[in-house]
Amino acid sequence: MKKVFTTCWFVTLCLWSTLSWAQNKVVKGTVTNETGEPIPGVSIVVTGTTKGTITTGEGKYTLQVPEDAVSLTFSSIGYMDMEEQIGQRSVIDVVLVENVTQLEEIVVTSFGRQEEKKSLGYSVQSFSSEDLQEAKQANFLDAMQGKVAGVNITSSGGTPGAGTNIIIRGITSLDPSASNQPLFVIDGIPIDNSTNAGSMLPSSGSNSAGSSEQFSFSNRAVDINPSDIESVNILKGPSATALYGLRGANGVVVITTKRGKAGKARINFSSSYSWDQVGKTPEVQSKYREGRFGRLRFNSDGSPLRFQTFGPKVSQYDPVINNMKEFWETGHRLDNSLSISGGNDNSTYYTSVSRLDQNGIAPNSEWNRTSIKLNGSTKFSDDLEVTGSMQYINSQGVRPNGGDKSIMSALSYYTTTYGTDNYVNPIDGTQVDYSDGITDNPRYLAEFANLEDEVNRVIANVGLNARFTNWLKLDYKVGIDQYTDKRRRIVPADADVGRQVKGFTIENKIQAREINSNLLLTAFAEFNEDLNMTVTAGNAITETWSESLNVRGEGFTLNNFKSIGNTTNYFTKINGSLRRLVGLFADVKFEYRDFLFLNLTGRNDWSSTLPKENRSFFYPSVSLGYLFSEHMNLQSNFFSYGKVRLSYAEVGKDTDPYLLGYYYEPSPGFPFESINGFRKDDTYGSDRLRPERTSAIEFGAELKFFNNRLGIDATYFQQRSKDQIIRLPVSNTTGLSRYITNAGEIENKGIELLITGEVIRSNNFNWSSSLNFSKTEGEILSMPEGLEEIVFFDGTYIQNKIVKGGKVGDLYGHKFNRNQQGQLIIDKNGLPSVNTEEYVKVGNAIPDWTAGLNNSISYKNFTLSVLLELKQGGDLFDMGLRNGIRNGVLKETELRYREVIFKGVTETGEPNTKPVEINGENLYRSYSRYNSASEVILQDASWFRIRNVNLSYNLPKQWIEKLKMQSARVSLTGNNLYLNTPYRGYDPEASQFGAGSNAFGFAGLVIPQTRSYTLSLNVTF
């Protein structure tokens, strides 16, 4: 197949080279808009013929025209067509006038290609720099929350620099450890967006499930300065990402950064200051003191024994402190960004420097980011342009810890009788907490047990654009993305998690490097007036490499010297990965009379991670866009635009490096004394591993009414991923625990709807509105033979797992014992009981649907935009909730020492009449009666929120002209201003396991989400 493809494309190439014509006059010129800015991509055709060219990035063109040519027709999307007489002129400069009603959207697709949205056979959603700036988020992904249909963007909480998880059209992998994150591409070159959880745990003394939950590590796209972004386009399905091949299998986020434009230097300065506060917090009880059994407790030596809050009633002298709220401080962010750009006819430049300083809501947490960027291009001739881009980023922070034995778990236990302010003994620097070490003082952890990280990163690329003839051009770009991520975790000996090992520190150095080389040849052919064709063929080579060196030192000798040199036991771990990919691809696009667009692609990938004989694999895609309004001439005042799209695509997916066969690895817990030990790896990768296959269909329609003022864009997609590369759990008696093989099939389907409207359009007052809606669902069609379930995460009380016929995101847990009629069975003591033997399906973490409504109203110089978000369904297990119940901290435990009769039936089926006095021990603290029941601990996390409100004011022209400015804007932004949810914990938007994780349905032990207010200024000179 691949051979046939290659042959075809060379034959086609030869055919075109025979297309030529008489040329005997040269016309040059520049095309600009009304404000004098050059317009690239303008089509210039000798009127009445098919001969023509397009303008360069600087709006310039050169065209050979026949002597008898009379005039040239200039046309460009979004502008009125213009016909210009040639006469005797050899230089024809024109100014095109914007066509407001015909404004066509341009989107950036694979490899930075700009395409008319109308010509695409698949759905793409774009964001402009303004869209992203509005929300004033440090992580640009967060700025898209609530705005993209079919894309789930979840922050991992309120830690400064927290990672953000992005999943496009659902999880497509049955393997809990497989990545479902999309590919990030900046200016045509992929960059690293991984979230490295690392290994941040001591050798004993932590019950944490994984270190990823502990520090909300950044997804590395956080390094991108949002002010440098010109646009973001999200390519969702395999049709859209076909040219990216296997790396685009989870979707692609295409980022285009700002470039300079010919003309006078343009200076832009933006500055913003934000206040962050903790968002929603759980409600605590205020009636009872610390203690147990209704009284204060004492040790045998008479000292107080405090931990639970099941003590006596609060008297008028006792303080009641809501630590879950009062612990948090107001965070601050100062974000400054300066850019200077400009250029002349031959060269352009864009430089920027930015700095973000942030203090988080957790005491002592901080993050900052400094970035320097240079984008430039220069032309050696009309046919040869060289581009380059270089960016240096330094981001560093002090991260508070979440997860088990953290600030968050300590807060969930912490009594309401004592605050956290008295946290350190001034004499010896040791911890002070009300429970004398049973739990930690969260403030002590925040101040002394945190993680520092620092990333130094360079992203650079150089490119070459060459035009051989007016129908054939070549683009080549090579890019590198390299960073080091240095982390240091310190835990003093008197913090719970460090006690067993007498304190520890971890030094983790991660290095990563990605090199990409992309070569594209693009040819254009016009067969006749009605039909033309664009062919792109190319080659992409990728190498990604990383290495992580982790040294843990345990047992501090000197109490207050927290250095790895001050520890007694060392544990060293090193691992890394190297992966290489080569892809060859071709894309053929036919345009028939501006209403029918057919796009065929094919790509062959070679991956280093697969066995030699299965290393090479091919997959095709076909997509069709049909503008029936144009074809059937249906345009009227009512109906202005109508298009249907249809596509089918396949994509392959390779796997992680080093999975084939087996290895021997150093045994954990060694060296033993000075002796080292190895063990056979319990994973064995089949040497017949094949690439995973995803096939997808997508169809959609775009309809516009009332002179384009109302638009509807609807998409349905269905994709099946089969031959999944899965770590099949096998009987440990085989000598293996996992056998990596191909098995299982998963189907994702969903609808995405986008409605846009310009409700009011007038000179002074405009109101536009956009609504997005999406519903995505994943079903497990087949499981590997003999395997009944795959557990994504076992949270002991709630498990996220999948079974055949089940749905992605299914949650399992225990339920109260009920009879067949569903009535609660009440035992002889008058209390309910939980069936802790069985895990049954109790919910699903994936929302039924989500919707976002954005309204933007402008009056004269004022603009107000409001983004509302609605999420329906999606269950969540608050991992801190049980602690708060068992310790009597939460409001829901306030009902005490009252006699109640549980509604239900006795074991023999009679209605229950047995009164029982509720207290801490018999109910709230009881695992078998209460706090393990999913009815208690699994909650509906539906929400309605005002995600973002932005009010901005553009300074009047007369003022800014005096100040020699081009524009100036001040704005006020609020994020998460309002939240309405039945969920009882902190703001439910904070995924427990951070970015890059596939375990859904868990929250509660990460630094909570914030509500923020930002004041900002943006001026351009």
């Binding site: 290489r580 021997y664 004394e673 063990r679 000598g735 395997l787």
Partner: protein
């Protein structure tokens, strides 16, 4: 222009070349530089792992079985403590995946490169782990095990066959350990005996004795057989087969039970049944080992937790107790155990029963020697040892020796050892043998008043090898082939 063409086409040519070029995608590209490929592995790298995992497996098993044998009781009054289905997943993984798999690799490697000494050591360790497994789950795989990915669902074998395999492994180990030449031999990588093969040989005989006495219910010939094997078994506490942990490699009882107590995470503690054997309650003698084994904190008396109640305890397994201290050994096969096997075997071979009184002198001497051995191990003062041995409740004389006394002392000497539950089951929790042993409170109603007799197959195994599990699953209250 032409030049450009040439450059770009040669670029394309280069790319295509790269594709074809194996060195870019193949070669070592997909070989992990941080893990050892199978051709690099050596016997001395595997032995420490198998030894340490064997030690850890004793903890993994006994954490649960000590509750059933009533050495310990749970603060939660749930699970093994009340005879609920007990699976002990960690022991299944520890035995099969960690110990046996690597020991199996060692045997193969040792055979390949002519190193019978290593083969012998690996076979002893295999016999030990395989024996522990069958004593928990009865029918388990062996012949088809460790053959992944060729065999992904190994067939289970009956316990009788597994016992035969254990003995065959030991029978093969002994001549291997005695071999005159061996290309490689263990030295410092042998974390227990530093390469002293004669001691490994004693362990092989000790295990043969242990597995013989396990089958004592099948006839006196097994008791006689045990006595024969004991002649070559471990002959002093200095030769105990034990793994000594250190401040870096913490004893699991220390790190998993002792240390968490410091932060209020109580899990299990001494059972009332156990404490009563030592505090003068069941026997009118106070055992000098009591304060070494149990920490009563500020409390006045020693009292254990009543199984299944989660309460009643004044003692804890703190880091100050002998078994949960950071550098405590995990004792796998000890001289004390050998002496008690000898006492029991001689007692039974002489026609003794659970209620009969009187035994041959050999049994009585072994009984006293077993007590001495364990007390010496725990560092009991010589005067206290002598006082205890002289106490009329202990020094009853051969004519008054009962099985109860022998098993009581073995029960104490094998505190937190998996063997204890096997002894208890062999005598079917008989209160004549194990003083006043009764069902725990809140006993699992599914057992209808019967004692728990087996561990159930782990959840993982249920879904991963369901066919075999279904065929071999038995009622949790039904006795094993071994005990019948």
């Amino acid at each position: 222009m032409k030049k450009l063409f040439n450059i770009s086409f040669s670029l394309i040519g280069l790319m295509i070349l790269l594709v074809g070029c194996d060195s870019f995608l193949g070669g070592d590209t997909n070989t992990d530089p941080y893990r050892a490929t199978p051709d690099l592995i050596k016997l001395d790298a595997l032995l420490p792992t198998v030894i340490k995992e064997s030690g850890d497996n004793h903890y993994r098993i006994a954490y649960s079985t000590s509750q059933i044998a009533q050495h310990t009781a749970s603060y939660f009054a749930s699970g093994a403590d009340i005879h609920e289905i007990t699976r002990i997943n960690s022991a299944w993984t520890g035995i099969y995946l960690r110990a046996l798999t690597n020991a199996d690799q060692m045997v193969k490697l040792a055979e390949e490169n002519g190193s019978p000494h290593y083969a012998g050591v690996a076979q002893v360790l295999m016999a030990l782990n395989l024996g522990m497994a069958t004593d928990l789950w009865e029918n388990i795989p062996f012949d088809e095990a460790f053959k992944g990915p060729e065999i992904l669902k190994p067939a289970y074998q009956a316990q009788e066959e597994i016992y035969n395999r254990v003995n065959s492994l030991l029978d093969a180990a002994i001549p291997n350990l005695q071999a005159a030449t061996s290309v490689f031999s263990p030295s410092d990588d042998d974390l227990i005996y530093k390469g002293d093969l004669s001691k490994w040989e004693k362990v092989a005989y000790a295990l043969k004795a242990r597995y013989a006495i396990h089958l004592a219910n099948k006839g006196d010939s097994y008791a006689t057989m045990a006595l024969t094997e004991l002649e070559n078994a471990i002959d002093g506490i200095e030769n105990d087969f034990e793994l000594i942990y250190n401040s870096r490699n913490l004893n699991p009882w220390h790190s998993q039970v002792g240390l968490p107590i410091k932060t209020g995470n109580y899990t299990i503690t001494h059972s009332a049944q156990f404490i009563k054997c030592l505090n003068g309650d069941y026997y009118t003698v106070v055992d000098p080992r009591l304060p070494i084994i149990a920490d009563k904190g500020g409390n006045d008396n020693y009292s254990g937790m009543i199984n299944g109640s989660g309460s009643g305890s004044t003692t804890n397994l703190t880091v100050d107790t002998w078994y949960a201290s950071s550098e405590a050994p995990i004792m796998m096969v000890t001289y004390a155990e050998m002496k008690f096997i000898e006492a029991e075997a001689a007692f039974l071979a002489n026609g003794g029963t659970t209620t009969s009184v009187g035994a041959p002198q050999q049994a009585y001497e072994a009984y006293l020697e077993g007590i001495t051995a364990h007390m010496q191990k725990l560092g009991v003062e010589e005067a206290e040892v002598n006082a205890y041995l002289a106490d009329p409740n202990v020094a009853v004389g051969a004519a008054n020796l009962t099985l109860e006394l022998i098993m009581k002392e073995k029960y104490i000497a094998l505190f937190l050892h998996p063997e204890a539950w096997i002894d208890v089951r062999r005598y079917n929790y008989n209160p004549d043998v194990f003083h006043s042993m009764t069902l725990p409170e809140n006993h699992n109603p599914d057992l209808n008043g019967n004692f728990l007799q087996r561990a159930s197959y782990p959840f993982d195994e249920l879904s991963r090898n369901s066919g075999e599990v279904d065929k071999n699953t038995k009622e949790i209250g039904s006795r094993m082939w071994r005990d019948q």
